[in-house]
């Protein structure tokens, strides 16, 4: 696993996520949010889970990011900037980060290098989904249908 690629992708992802969290203009934040997800997908490729990386690009950037920009468009008011930034949130986020770092460094079993594994093919993922994970698959289908119907009902305008 290349360390140069790791550093580049890590810098890109964290910078884009920070930009998404702190930029005042909403559309810029939404677009850097999409870039952050490109970074996360690149991490998945680096880790050898290519299928998940492709699904990530497809779902998050192709669907969720488009949804977010559409919603920004439909709920616009002037001025478009977000007013007010709550600095208490920064304190809490830093505290949580400190706590997580402490727990990561306290666990010695985590300082391992990557073992060599056989690459996970799409065929194996498909087989596992259809045999071991068939119930979660059907439930996810149900959840997605419910979400689709629910979202439509929430935004449909009654023609009165």
């Amino acid at each position: 696993m290349s360390s140069a690629a790791f550093i580049v992708i890590a810098v890109l992802t964290l910078a884009a996520a920070l930009a998404a969290a702190t930029l005042p203009k909403l559309i810029h934040a939404a677009l850097s949010f999409a870039i952050a997800f490109v970074g996360v997908a690149a991490f998945y490729f680096l880790l050898g889970a290519e299928f998940v990386g492709l699904v990530q690009v497809f779902v998050y950037i192709g669907a969720v990011a488009v949804l977010i920009v559409f919603t920004i468009l439909l709920t616009r008011r002037d001025p478009e900037k977000d007013r007010g930034f709550n600095w208490g949130g920064v304190v809490i986020a830093l505290a949580v980060f400190g706590g997580l770092l402490w727990s990561i460094f306290e666990t010695p079993a985590l300082a391992v290098l990557a073992p060599t594994i056989k690459p996970l093919t799409v065929k194996q993922i498909g087989l596992t989904l259809m045999t071991d994970y068939i119930w979660p698959l059907q439930c996810v289908g149900l959840v997605l249908t419910a979400a689709l119907i629910g979202a439509l009902i929430l935004v449909i305008e009654e023609k009165s």
Binding site: A30, I92, A93, V96, L100, P136
Partner: protein, 104 residues
């Protein structure tokens, strides 16, 4: 440095905290949703990192959980954004501080 598991976990913890920052410190409802999505992505990254660094025998559990997490995150984003639009239609605001009609 060759990436160890600790390094990946630190990155995903940092990503999670950036998402937490976005969700806690912004007042626009859509920013909060963006923060939640970033947190979900960080958790997925955590799962895939653990899957990759696991000792043999190698189970595909991490990859499965990440796939389901992405699907659920998409569904939740759709419903959340529909809620934001519905609230905007009725109250003409997306500032979550102004949505306090149930305040006792």
């Amino acid at each position: 440095m060759t990436p160890t598991l600790q390094l990946f976990l630190i990155i995903s913890a940092a990503l999670f905290c950036v998402g937490l920052l976005a969700a806690l410190s912004r007042r626009h409802a859509i920013f909060i949703l963006i923060g939640i999505e970033i947190m979900l992505a960080a958790a997925g990254l955590n799962f895939i990192a653990f899957w990759r660094f696991a000792p043999p025998p190698h189970q595909p559990t991490g990859v499965m959980v990440a796939i389901f997490a992405i699907a659920i995150a998409a569904a939740e984003a759709a419903v959340g954004l529909a809620l934001v639009i519905a609230v905007y239609r009725n109250y003409r605001t997306t500032n979550v501080d102004e949505l306090d009609q149930l305040k006792g």
